[in-house]
Subunit: 324 residues, 2 copies
């Protein structure tokens, strides 16, 4: 069987795909627009094109399979993707069958949640290669997560484990998109963070952010906060520290429950790096049990967006190893 696998990170805007050699690293990568607004059939065609491209790059023209990291809910059998946000008219799509139909009847196709793929990628190709077990947090539009236990994804009862964004740190706190009070996503999700920042910086006229965003800070974005913080803006730094404090509270609970003391933070918002992570590192100590404190470490995934597609490819290698 081929030593090569294709990994895909399916985003609402772009799909990134790579060819990976087992036990090695990335051999080739490609990227194209997802064009999600044209519906699932079109997206599946785009994915199939990317796979064909990469299959052609494999030395013998074959691949062992395709792993796909996708947003939305993934079924336990790892074939369907349901209701991915920002994919109009998607509902429930059996991606395995749809891609096999387009490419090759017996092609191994494994679908997995995108945050889980990032975690698996981090464990095998990223910053966490020396860690067997850790908590992955992805800070982006939402707050995603994964539990990596003994180098594998902990999937839970239906495949949905790792939903760290919906852990509540305050049962009377602000609500997230599911109406869960105090869910960490309601503080650190991009939209929520921007909203909190708007109110908290509204009267901090000395902040550079006032020059960056429009009147009443209505255009404020997390990106502006990092840029301002990096330029030494005190109010922006305080705002990110506020977010980091909240992250630390949540991580304390997750660490206590799982007895996993390594936390890997990835995703777009993690670009704010230590402005968020240093306060998180400080706060988390107040929320973990004393016996765990010495082991706690919060590290940043610096391999960036690659870990998602690499982790997706790794699903195929892990499947092969288990079958062998």
């Amino acid at each position: 069987m081929s030593e090569y696998a294709v990994g895909i990170d399916l985003g609402g805007t772009n799909l990134k795909a790579c060819l990976v050699k087992d036990g090695d690293r990335l051999v080739h990568q490609t990227s194209r627009t997802t064009e999600a607004e044209q519906g699932p059939d079109h997206v599946l065609d785009r994915i199939a094109e990317a796979i064909e491209d990469l299959r052609g790059q494999s030395p013998d023209g074959t691949i062992a399979g395709v792993g796909i990291g996708a947003p939305g809910n993934i079924d336990l059998a790892q074939r369907t993707v349901s209701y991915p946000p920002n994919f109009p008219n998607w509902d429930v799509v059996d991606m395995r069958s749809a891609l096999q139909e387009r490419l090759q009847d017996d092609l191994l196709v494994i679908v997995e949640n995108d945050a889980n793929c990032a975690g698996l990628g981090s464990a095998h190709y990223g910053i966490a290669v020396d860690h067997d077990s850790f908590i992955m947090v992805t800070l982006g539009t939402g707050v995603g997560g994964a539990i990596i236990y003994q180098n594998k994804i902990f999937r839970g009862a239906t495949g949905a484990a790792g939903e760290i964004g919906h852990i509540s740190i305050d049962y009377e706190g602000p609500v997230d998109r599911w109406g869960i009070a105090g869910a960490i996503e309601a503080y650190l999700g991009q939209h929520f963070l921007s909203r909190h920042a708007r109110y908290r910086l509204l009267t901090r006229y000395e902040s550079k952010v006032h020059d960056m965003a429009k009147d009443d800070l209505e255009d404020i974005s997390p990106r502006m906060l990092y840029d301002a913080a990096k330029a030494g803006d005190g109010p922006a730094q305080e705002m990110l520290a506020w977010a980091g404090h909240k992250l630390g509270c949540m991580l304390g609970s997750a660490i206590n429950l799982l007895d996993l003391a390594t936390v890997v933070v990835g995703g777009g918002v993690s670009g704010a790096g230590d402005f968020i992570l240093d306060p998180a590192r400080e706060t988390v100590m107040r929320y973990v049990m004393p016996g765990v404190r010495d082991r706690v470490q919060i590290i940043r995934e610096t391999t960036g967006n690659e870990v998602g597609m690499l982790g997706a490819a790794h699903l195929i290698f892990q499947h092969k190893a288990q079958a062998a």
Copy 2:
């Protein structure tokens, strides 16, 4: 190898022990005082006596091993017990070696956290026999817990996973014994629940609890709350509902993170049953993600204190099955 194993539930006051036949149930049980105040050597003698008693009950006079559920921290190799609360002068004891020395050099001895044993016992002999994966919560002096995944204990990185009592539901809430703000133990641990009840019922003169506890309710106990609640006492019922509400908030976070929607509640305080669990069942729905709601069930372990020692014995059968 013998089909029989001994399981021990080591408590600060009593030690309960049983002989179990593999694939079957409890064959014989015994109980004696732990006499923890006399120090670890004495406790180990007491345990060894109980084991000898039960080994004598085995048809051929042999056992496959001894599983022990103990409070305190258990090491990853499942041999030492560190700093169990209410065991004076204990520090760190290598129970495996100490018992092998007393009984038989190559006797298989496996030590495990008592809440984890209760979870394993519930999965194989208790209310959860039809559930492969669930969250165990033990409501007693403290709030303990376990994660049972695919019929096994999820142990985490060092063996300490399942510390549900230290999940925070309010980052500015009351502190537990480790100083963790809003930890669920700071609401539902026996001592904490009594203290909250004292303040919340102080001016509720109509409550029967005022006749049960001394002046200023200083002697109030969770037991009085259940007894009063059962007798129709409104304020006592409200107090337990308050506690159940808090439990529901915490369970929502744990369910979201683990994707395990079955919760089994055991331990002494679970005697209050539906006075706590009905409000928890109602509240938890507001804290879990929509896709999980249909699957959530909170059930009560009715096998009582037996599940701890049965689960401890099962450690031996599970070890045998893995080795085979």
